[in-house]
Symmetry: C2
Subunit: 345 residues, 2 copies
DNA sequence: CTGAAAGCGCTAACAA
DNA sequence: TTGTTAGCGCTTTCAG
């Protein structure tokens, strides 16, 4: 059992040639039923397992597609991956995952590794650090499908699947205004990635549309994490112009914000808090967290569909599409002033 | 840019042979500095990217190792993977992840896919459904390293890295007893995987050692999920012999238990609740959840170390080790009766 | 220090 | 319907 059986072993055992074996195994039509059966049986008997490397080398197709995400620990990305796998498995494509851990260096490495592994295409959501995008251009140069989702960069001329993030920022803000909050702050992050800018613009637009001023001190730029949330909330609540509601860049950051607010006895919804992403835990923390649903499953499905379309075209980048999904507010207690009144009574 | 540059292109451009190029690129010692430099430069100029498929086919080593886990959404598994990657990257090994989603069918598929992709080894934590283990035997037959971690099956003669799960069950129970709880129930799952049995045995032993009876009705066998937790807690609290504390098979299940208890106004620590795994959210739910720390990072490191050891031996399965890690209790509010008293005062 | 050539396991013309 | 044969891109003896 030391060395693997190959189609040569099968051929030899059956006294036929490798081409016949190859054809029998790959369902080639012009093969007699007898031969096919004999081959399949012998393959099983010899415990044959095909070497995909060899066939990929020959055919130029690995049927593997690479997905690069910042981290699989975010429920949002995990769900997307799941849906991509789901949408692709019927077509015989497998997914391999590469985590950038929010570092460009890892991201570059990821692209290289996947390309060297000869994947048939790549889907990616960029790391927060990513500014230079030349590593992605390499994929395009090789004329392999690249699809960017959620965290995209518009300088890259590739199909994208995103949320309407301007609208997401807008409705998050509007939701708070509708709940009666008046001084709304925003803890977010700064970089090249479109979605965070769009959300910020949506936030500003909503404020303006409803007659509220945009206060520079109410916008905190940092990272996105529980720690950053705590820090941002602390800074805001120590300032002379304290907000009465905080929008957090994602649910983890919102969690940090809530932690901090609880410590200083400003537990939401006293101070309103809303996040982005609808993480698994968001419904279970106290108070449970209002958030913006980013439709992970739909996004994953669209990625899969888009990939299949690209791979089946002569040129993958013809008829490029940019799909934009509609965000929704998930209203929970952290922005529900009525709960606060009830609790205080 | 349509077709990729190969070492042949480099060789032609430099008027040397492919063997020289290959050697120059792979850091072979007996190569003149001049040639090496020229090759490297030309490689960059021609935008060369090696085809790992070809080199793997030739050398029989892909330097890729496959990790099969039930789901990356569990913080525990995500952390382990992270640490495996970390411990392996210096040796040039890359990790690809395959999720079984707790289904044997996917698991079998995963093993096959990884084997066909010619990975150099596999690490796996079994799905809850897995009973038959022949798909894993296949890896051993091919004489490739297989390491089982956390959810192992002792019928497979391979190295394992586990927690001392008997002890885990024991200390979880003892912790509750120490806190003053007297009627301790256990919501868990039933199957072939060793750890869940061990935990149950530890639970029983702790009860017995401290003079408490083992009550059959206090042991609920179901799945592990938020839903199963709700269901288990409901069943327990409706019974005539209500427990005053519940051990849940994992933190997700514990979350469901807490949800249910809150609804029927038995919010922990009134009824004590403890989970397993120390998920990211556990510290943030209310009341925050006591749990058993499974030392994910240590487990990941040991996996990496073990793999390196196996791959460097003549025969991977010589000197097999079974590493057992020590669990620890993370004490939080959900089992802290003093908090309850304070709150009620 | 470099070249020639065989071959990893499989596919796919082209023949028969 | 099956066989022959030439590679896919790379590594690696064996010569020189």
């Amino acid at each position: 059992m030391k060395k693997k059986t190959t189609i040569y072993d099968i051929a030899k055992a059956l006294n036929i040639t490798v081409s016949t074996v190859s054809r029998a195994l790959s369902g080639f039509p012009a093969i007699s039923d007898t031969t096919r059966k004999a081959v399949v049986e012998m393959a099983k008997k010899l415990n044959y397992s095909p070497n995909k490397l060899a066939s990929a080398l020959k055919s130029g197709k690995t049927h593997i597609i690479g997905v690069i995400v910042p981290s699989v620990q975010a429920h949002f990305f995990a769900s997307i991956i799941h849906c991509i796998e789901d949408g692709l498995k019927d077509s015989g494509y497998r997914v391999i995952i590469y985590q950038s851990n929010e570092s460009v260096e890892n991201e570059i490495n990821g692209v290289r590794t996947l390309l060297e592994a000869q994947v048939d295409g790549i889907m990616a959501s960029m790391s927060l650090e990513t500014k230079n995008i030349s590593h992605f251009s390499e994929i395009i140069k090789q004329n392999k499908p690249l699809i960017l989702f959620d965290r995209v960069n518009t300088d890259l001329k590739v199909p994208t699947i995103t949320l309407d993030d301007f609208k997401a920022g807008y409705i998050a803000t509007k939701h708070l205004i509708d709940q009666g909050y008046q001084k709304i702050a925003f803890v977010t992050t700064v970089h090249q990635i479109k979605i965070f800018n769009d959300r910020l613009e949506g936030y500003k637009a909503a404020l303006t549309d409803h007659g509220f001023p945009v206060v520079e001190d109410h916008i905190i730029f940092g990272g996105l994490s529980i720690k950053d949330g705590r820090f941002g909330a602390g800074k805001l609540m120590r300032s002379s112009n304290k907000p009465d509601a905080i929008i957090a860049g994602d649910d983890f950051t919102a969690l940090g914000v809530i932690k901090k607010l609880k410590e200083i006895d400003e537990t939401p919804p006293k101070i309103g808090v809303i996040g982005f992403a609808n993480e698994a835990f968001s419904a279970y923390i106290t108070p449970n967290l209002s958030t913006i649903d980013q439709h992970a499953s739909q996004m994953g499905q669209e990625c899969a569909k888009m990939f299949l379309k690209m791979i089946n075209q002569e040129s993958p980048y013809a008829n490029m599409e940019h799909i934009v999904l509609d965000p929704g507010v998930v209203e929970r207690d952290s922005t529900n002033k009525k709960v606060a009144i009830k609790t205080e009574a």
